[in-house]
Symmetry: C2
Subunit: 193 residues, 2 copies
DNA sequence: CGGAATCTTGAAAGTGTTCAAATCAAGTGG
DNA sequence: CCACTTGATTTGAACACTTTCAAGATTCCG
C-alpha cells in the first residue's frame, strides 16, 4: 500500500524516490482503516493526523443548529483529507470528517510531516500541493460568489465526474451550496435541454 | 520601504533577519507604484510579479459578460496580492487586479521567489503563509455555502473592520457574494436592531 | 420481501436581485 | 465659496431563484 504513496510522490519530482527515503516514509506514515460512516474527526476534537487516501471516499463538513450538514470538501483515492487549521494549530476543529465508503489511508502526524521536510522531494511536493490547493480554492470561491447554481453544477460535473458517481446527489448538492431538491430540478432541467 | 518588509518577515521567525539576507531581499524585490484605479493585472495577461503591499489598497476580481464585477480578494498594507495560478503556472490570468488607492508595493518575480527559498526564514514564512491562506480559504468557502448573507456580513465586519472602512460598500458586497442593494438593506436592518 | 436511503415533485414561503429613481457625499474648477 | 460633476448609497416594487416541507416514487441491499 505504500507503493501507491511512492508513485504519488514520484509524480511531483524528477528525481526518483530512493530506498532510504522510502524507509523514512514508511516510518512516518501509518496505515489506518475506516468503515463506511465512521468518523475520522469530530467537531471539537483535534486533527492529529492528515490522511492520504489509498482507497475509499471521505467528506469534510459542518453541521448547523438544525442538524443540516454542509459539505466543504470531498476526497477519494490519492487525495489528502484532514482539517489543516486544526492539524497545524493543534486547535479543536469546527469540522467533521467521516468515511463515505470503507476507506484505507496512510496517516501523517504533524511532527512527522515536519520531519519529512528534510527530504527535498517531499518538501517540493508539499509546495506544489499548496500551490494547487490555493488555485482550486480561489476558483471555488470565485464560483461561489459569481456563478449561478446551474453553472456551478455543470462545471463541477465536468471537472469531477468521478465524484459525481461516488457520492449521492444530496452530498454533491451540499458541496455546491444548494439543496438536494434544487439539485434534482437542475438535473432534470439539463436533461430536457 | 524595505524596512517594512523586513519587519514583516521577522514576525514569522525567531531568528533575526541578517544583513546579508537583507541584501538578498533588496535584490529580489523591486519597488513599484500604482495610482488609484490603475491596473496591476488584466484578464488574459500573465501575472509576472507577486506584490507585497507597503501602502495602499488593491482588489482582485473577475468581470462577467454583462460587465458585473465579482471581487474575489482584497488587500491592504502588509498583505500579498497577485494571481497565484498565473504566477506559478505562467498562464494567462482570469482575474483583474487594480489599485483602489494609490499604492506602493514591492514586487517579487517567480524566479526571484524561488531563489529566496534558500533563505530558511523566507521559506519558513512562505510555509506559514500557505497554512494561513489555506485556513482562511477553507473558512470562506464554508461560509459561502452554509451562511446567510446577513451572517457573512456581520462576520466580515467583525474580522476585517479595516477593510470595511477602506473599501466602498459595493465592493465589500461583491466580495461577500451579494449586491450593493442587499448590503444597504442588511446594514439598515442591523442598525435598527 | 421489507426497510432504509435516496431522489423527485408540487406548492408556498423566503431570500436576494434587478432596475430605476431619489438621495447623499466628495471632490473640482471657476 | 458655490455650482457642478461624479461616485456611492438608499429605497421601493416587481421579479427570479432557491428553499422548505411534505408526500410519493425509486433504488439498493440484506
Amino acid at each position: 500500500m505504500y507503493e501507491i504513496l511512492f508513485e504519488y510522490i514520484q509524480k511531483f519530482n524528477s528525481e526518483p524516490v530512493t530506498a532510504a527515503e522510502k524507509e523514512l516514509y514508511r516510518a512516518a506514515f501509518s496505515p489506518f482503516k475506516l468503515r463506511r460512516k465512521q468518523y475520522f474527526l469530530q467537531e471539537g476534537s483535534r486533527c492529529k493526523h492528515f490522511a492520504f487516501i489509498i482507497k475509499g471516499a471521505m467528506r469534510l463538513y459542518t453541521v448547523d443548529e438544525t442538524g443540516t450538514e454542509y459539505v466543504a470538501r470531498l476526497g477519494i483515492e490519492n487525495w489528502w483529507m484532514g482539517d489543516r487549521e486544526s492539524w497545524v494549530m493543534n486547535s479543536p476543529s469546527i469540522y467533521n470528517i467521516d468515511a463515505w465508503e470503507d476507506t484505507e489511508m496512510l496517516l501523517l502526524s504533524r511532527p512527522n510531516a515536519i520531519g519529512l521536510t528534510s527530504i527535498p522531494g517531499f518538501s517540493n511536493m508539499m509546495h506544489q500541493l499548496d500551490d494547487r490547493n490555493n488555485m482550486a480554492n480561489q476558483r471555488r470561491i470565485t464560483a461561489a460568489i459569481s456563478a449561478s447554481a446551474e453553472k456551478r453544477f455543470t462545471e463541477f460535473a465536468e471537472c469531477y465526474p468521478e465524484l459525481m458517481e461516488r457520492f449521492p446527489q444530496y452530498i454533491i448538492a451540499s458541496y455546491l451550496g444548494f439543496t438536494k431538491d434544487t439539485m434534482s430540478r437542475l438535473k432534470s432541467k439539463l436533461v430536457r435541454k
